[in-house]
């Protein structure tokens, strides 16, 4: 596969989500073969970035309830949720909702 067929996506984790990731990373760069959807990214993160409690991040190839997916600053339901097609240099934020106060 040549370089041209890959896209790079900036992935960020916040709201405690980063604590599930390897080295508690709050951001990573993901390289995905084109065309890639958010679902592909979720699977990539689950398999390669989440440290061990994978069931707290993803279930049935989507994110667990309570996790918001933000694509370039917008709630993913403003777009097409899991089926949203990603472009090179997109920023995707996974954020867990907080309940404390």
């Amino acid at each position: 596969m040549s370089e041209a067929e890959e896209i790079t996506v900036n992935v960020e984790f916040s709201g405690g989500m980063e604590r599930l990731m390897k080295d508690q990373a709050s951001s990573i760069q993901a390289k995905l073969p084109e065309p890639a959807t958010i679902r592909d990214l979720i699977i990539h993160v689950r398999d390669n970035v989440v440290e061990d409690k994978k069931e707290l991040f993803s279930k049935n190839d989507t994110v667990c309830p309570g996790i918001l997916v933000i694509i370039n600053g917008s709630d993913w339901e403003v777009e097409d949720s899991e089926d949203t097609v990603l472009s090179n240099k997109d920023t995707v934020l996974f954020i867990s909702t907080l309940h404390g106060g």
């Binding site: 709201g15 069931e55 709630d75 907080l98 309940h99 106060g101």
Partner: protein, 450 residues
Amino acid sequence: MERSERINLLRSRLASLRAEELKIEAELCELEEAQTTTETESTTTCSNAMPHNESKLSSTEIRRYSRQLLIPEIGTKGQLCLRNSSALIVGTGGLGSPCAMYLAAMGIGTLGLVDHDIVDYSNLHRQIIHSEAAASGTPKVVSAHMGVSRLNPLCNVRLYNVLLDSTNAKDIMRNYDIVVDATDNAATRYLINDACVMLGIPLVSGSAVRLDGQLTVYNYNGGPCYRCMFPTPPPVDTMANCSETGVLGVVPGIIGCLQAMEVVKVLTHRKKNETPSMLLFSYRSQPHFQHIKLRPRKPTCAVCGDSPSVTELADYVAFCGSGPNDNAPDWRVLDDPAQRVSCREYSQVVGDLRKPHLLLDVREELQFDICSLPNSVNIPMDQFDQRRDELERILRDLNGAPIYTVCRRGNLSQLAVKYIREKLSYDQCYDIARGLIGWQQDVDPNFPAY
């Protein structure tokens, strides 16, 4: 009189005055509540509001709010809106404290406060409406009433010293113009949301844990409700709360202040042109704030949708799998009671019996640094696998002497016993039931439980 003597005298006088003030406040709250109840019974309308001219500010009000009247976004018109409005804050903790204080100071007419809890010493670093004098069991609403009335006696305060649930939520919330969710658990968040949707009240929702905070206005101006965003409750394991995971004091303070600002914006009709959004705050990120654009109201939403399936308040604790009081569940990992010892039993092991043994503290290092029992060795449970060689060496050196495991409340310590017995085949292993919290309650009241 010696200066230091005088200082001590003044300090102790202040302390007793502060305790006295709380007592007076508690009695006042009780009498005011009784009076409001009689008034509500004798007149058909709720007449708790102070008598005032609906369309004019008094000269006292003009003096007090003058700096706010000078801002075009508020002005006399906006100030009157605030004065003639009511807001209900559910929760007078880290979020509710600054929110209540600012709303009262800025001139909200009626402020309702709901909380069933009492003030605890571990609340004070963030719940700044409460004073140290209140931290020995004063109801939070009474303590909050004192905080608010000190700031602004013009504010009419209504107290609800109850746990908000599906039997009382609508009755309490019904008469308010806006509701602030300043609670600390998912079940109450769904409850408040659903009641707000059913009553048509906008909801200013905030949350904060550790170093992060979130803020959204729900059920307002065509935007989503909480359920539109989160149709399914999260897995119970992911619901972090402040007593388990900690929180930096100022973080809920920042979010609570912003909640007060959103209340002002909604009540003064200055938020109509904004699209639905969520504000994220993090101590770590640069910049600290991030704004995200939210979906509009979902036609398929179970409560605010076009054909809702939720039309009455239900059992939210069952829906979420945990409730307002389930912050720290007690696990039962070890079925055999012979594998556990009580705190008192362990105190005899170290006391009279002087039995040779090893005390293994399995909490994470950060917690071990806060406090620990004498002569305990710290190997965090989540490092057992990677430090297995070290553990095996320790067990060999013990020559069959017993090993006791301890943690904060006796949950992790059970897992540790299971690990040591099953994976390391060492049978002389017991956990100390109820952990350090039990130790403080049953053995040493001076031990600093947290």
